[in-house]
Symmetry: D2
Subunit: 360 residues, 4 copies
């Protein structure tokens, strides 16, 4: 289980790294939505491996095939099924790992839980699964765009190289998609981006990996989205983001840094703006109060650990408990952060699309 | 909606701060479980307001009443309903807030979403709702104890006063419940606890509030609990913890600090221990790999902002958009961290009980 | 599990026959709904035992207590909790049944499933649980009334005594609640009612029980409610009705009799009426086509077996497999049909309230 | 929504009659299950159009393609995705129906609900969707077979031509799959089958359609499967069966006929059999008591109306409300009963597989 996400805009993903295909069934997309398949493909291309020298070189065209749910270019209300064929699996690369447990991968826990697993390329636990998320997220984005809601993520830190806070005050900033996409590392601050790229290059040459932070914002979300108590909007966002491979932490609004403030400093004071809208003067709340959006920008940050696949020999054990040495071979991805950006956007869009449909 | 949590061990909470009662229906507790009602009441007492000079003085006996689901002291498999009457609401304290939006409370967002709300004491968004969580969590703890699983939380930081890392290496530590309960601030390191208490006292006198961090661990969780993809065990934990009022951030294992490590440093190497169990030498994974428990301690940290109720005048607006001044009166809770400890434990226990039932 | 029902208007019931209370938590009732508690109590009184000489004499006041969710008489959007205390359990009547399995009761299956059960009065499998359904259904009815939707059920057959078809042509008829409530058997055709009552009296005197059919209709349901594929409106209605104790069959529209017609006879021809509305000339579809309401009256029929509690000695076995004789004592209900009427209405209202909220 | 079914063995179907493909994602199939794909294909062939002269002539190979979830022939615990390409849509046959509402089809209700619909061949409301159900049901059957559970359905009535009751006493009978498959009408009683076939031939020549009844049984279901209260096993079966296109009624055990019995006649008396198992002497309960299986055969009957597509001119309206004449052209299916048999089995198997996983 665990392969479905959302209540009103509900997706179910399927497919393994080295199976015939990965895909997603979207149930609940409102009838009538005109789907821009080229925009959807562009999102896929942002996540695609091999797009720049600082990512993995696995080469997948990732061309979306629509299996159901559209008629004359518009959603019918029936499930929308999107599928991507797996083109370049190189399954033989994994034969030596059939019985070994790679450190900090899901090999061991899958073996304990399922007994029988597809070890090739991580099988279902592979980052390949996120192609389905991005496809679904692209549909969610187009739905949100109808309400004027825009979701944008970017890399704000790689290791200890962090973008200056003043570039994105209160977690928002004035840059847009173009600035994010301007560098392969997807950091909208060129000087920081240069330093990040240099760092990733060094890590790549060392056969090692490095983590970092993806920040994201959603703008023009109206007040009143989300639920109280257990399904608070930020709790759903947290779950969504934490479900991305390699994510180890989540914060919204003031986050961990906010624990250093006093209540009198942290409270966001209400006022009525020139158009008569109720706004807050600061946004420590990250656009959410009591689990419900308050009309300010929704802001979050996600911590990604360095991914586990490194081009080094590491001691481990196999499924009999015997000591073995595992060795990363071939392609590796020194820093997943740039490719995590569209995935974070997708998960954020899925949560917001769900909340949007619930609010209507 | 949003008042239910869990799939196999599923709870639904009800009740407002100033209504007749708060309570919870637990659906899915296995038949035959002998429920220790005294232990359950002790958990309620840990969350209870007025338990020490550093918490709110609202005085509630919070005596649990069992409405259903037990027969001769043991669960029958039918829903277990636990209820606590509201004894000391002082509703009149809130008359002046009927139309005003308190800064960083849920007043405004509830008004936008529901139109009609019980403004007294925060209504459904009140921390009073967490009494129901603690009651349900106490049942979950007793279920987990059958498998030897123990959940413990503690206050690791108040503002910038943090417990030294070496007290809880890898997020675990050798202290237990007794050490946590030894001080009213629930920090198991006495020197740090003293500093925290002094700080909270100062904040209380200033009519202000202060935030901090609650850390938690679950020990003796067997490998194989949790689900892959969207319902990863840490994603469910994140959602659970983030759904607690005032929580702004969540991390597990290496968390945000782990983004500063290289993959070669972060990977947890497997080995077989003396008893033949497969273990990891470090626990950056926080006991979870690929969303599934790996047999190591599950570790997490939660950031709590300073709560919004302060004994000061603050500018705001009312539901007509007019400028008003809101003023906190009477009782306030300068630091929710100590009382958040049993709530964090409860939410962690609920997630693990769900995973336990799913794994069986 | 299995104690919750509905998606958007979601209820969770709790309580055993001989526990302290039975009740229901309603999650999803729209904020602002003004709840008429007297009307709600009247529905409870319709289901209440001891209301006439042809039903069980267990005496319960069944006074509703509101525990949460209302403020100044209107729903707040928070869970509405309704509770009824159990007043007259006579638990000692059941001591002789602690280990015996009564024929065609749930004693044996509960023992197999749960191991530990509350045998008194059927515990959770008791018809007492339906008090909670009727309470929740009464709220659903008030919600539906805002859209003009009315739900009405009646007894159309007791054993082989059936109301003439022409009284309710196409399953609808021109009678209303007053005609249904005019006789204790809740059959709106007085001559048939008299015969039914005489029959039930005879059965009661013989210590036996008798079954029959409850028919129901919902009028003024707009077109477009319900879902396609698995959650078809009639499939949800069927599940709802079949979940009532003693229900053995469900049909809607033409039902089983419709299998005798040809397609050319069964098809409901569309036409545009004087007000320009699209209608059908017949209603074999029972108001639902493709799982979605079409604007005609929704009609259904439910078969209830004779209930299992009879005042006779019957051979059986106990939980060791030994042969025993079980004997019904004290009160028994010769015909549940009249009291099933408000329960059928409640379940129908719950399904329609869910569909209504989903359609908005 | 409404495209998913089941909780533990959960399926999501997708695809329209005239889209590229129909398929199903199965989430929750236990890892390790060896899937017999040839047996699965045989089930598909039983449902396939064009298999005999008494069914529709639409010609589809319906060859199953496995997209995910299997590794070396066995389930991995990941979602199993099965897909069938649509080969012979003849979409042009439907151009004249783009704006017309066919009587007793879902055209009108889909238009009201969705606004934008794929009118070709009924789109999502087409019986084509049931191919996905049969594929998923075939997997469920193989899972159930591991526990020895067998599901079998057959045609027991076509119009007023019914199989004699004594062929299937208590709804079970001693025949098996071979006897059911021996005639194209899938009635295991040859004399009745001959009469049914003659009747269907006559109806086909008249361009008309005819309904009937499918009966089904599940044998070797252990006691203790299913849930109490709302999710009673027979309520889930009822919902499952009623969700099949053209189904108008459902009964289990004694069903509607049982309403004519007295309690003393209807009660199933317990005894201990020679092997020490607790059994009942009769099976009016249909193998389910209190919503939970009792170890006897589970028996049910489903009423199917004559399908709406007839080769005649019928008056109707179009989406502007104007009067039109609709005319069935080309292929039609005079009696869906034979092809409904594998679909009823599939839905029954899906419910039981869910209950089985829940019970373990």
């Amino acid at each position: 289980m665990g392969n479905s996400f959302g209540r009103r805009f509900r997706i179910t993903t399927f497919g393994e790294s080295h199976g015939p295909a990965v895909g997603v069934v979207i149930d609940g997309c409102p009838a009538g939505l005109a789907l821009d398949l080229e925009a959807l493909q562009r999102e896929m291309d942002r996540r695609r491996p091999g797009q720049s020298r600082i990512t993995t070189r696995r080469d997948e065209a990732d061309t979306i095939e629509v299996l159901s749910g559209l008629y004359e270019g518009r959603a019918t209300g029936a499930p929308i099924t999107l599928m991507v064929r797996n083109a370049d699996p190189r399954s033989a690369d994994y034969d030596h790992l059939r019985h070994a447990y790679r450190p900090s991968h899901a090999d061991y826990t899958y073996q304990v839980k399922y007994g029988h697993r597809d070890h090739r390329g991580g099988g279902r636990s592979s980052a390949r699964e996120t192609a389905a998320r991005v496809a679904a997220g692209a549909v969610a984005k187009q739905l949100l765009a109808q309400q004027g809601v825009e979701v944008l993520a970017w890399v704000s830190a790689v290791g200890d190289i962090a973008m200056p806070d003043e570039v994105a005050p209160d977690g928002v900033g004035s840059f847009g998609l173009a600035e994010v996409e301007a560098t392969p590392v997807r950091c909208p601050h060129p000087a920081t981006a240069d330093a990040m790229i240099a760092r990733i290059d060094a890590v790549r040459k060392a056969g090692d990996t490095i983590g970092g932070i993806v920040s994201a914002r959603a703008t023009s979300v109206p007040a009143g989205w989300g639920e109280p108590v257990f399904d608070k909007l930020h709790a759903e966002l947290g779950r969504a983001i934490l479900s991305i491979n390699a994510c180890k932490g989540f914060e919204y609004g003031s986050g961990f840094a906010g624990t250093h403030l006093l209540g009198s400093e942290h409270n966001d004071l209400f006022y009525r703006d020139a158009e008569g809208r109720i706004r807050t003067r600061t946004n420590h709340s990250g656009g959410i109060q009591g689990g419900i959006s308050n009309g300010e920008a929704i802001t979050l940050r996600a911590a990604f650990k360095p991914v586990a696949t490194i081009l080094r020999q590491q001691p481990s054990v196999d499924d009999t408990g015997a000591e073995v040495t595992v060795e990363g071979r071939g392609r590796h991805d020194p820093c997943v952060l740039p490719r995590a950006v569209p995935i974070v956007e997708a998960m954020m869009a899925l949560v917001l699309a769900d909340a949007m449909l619930d609010a209507h």
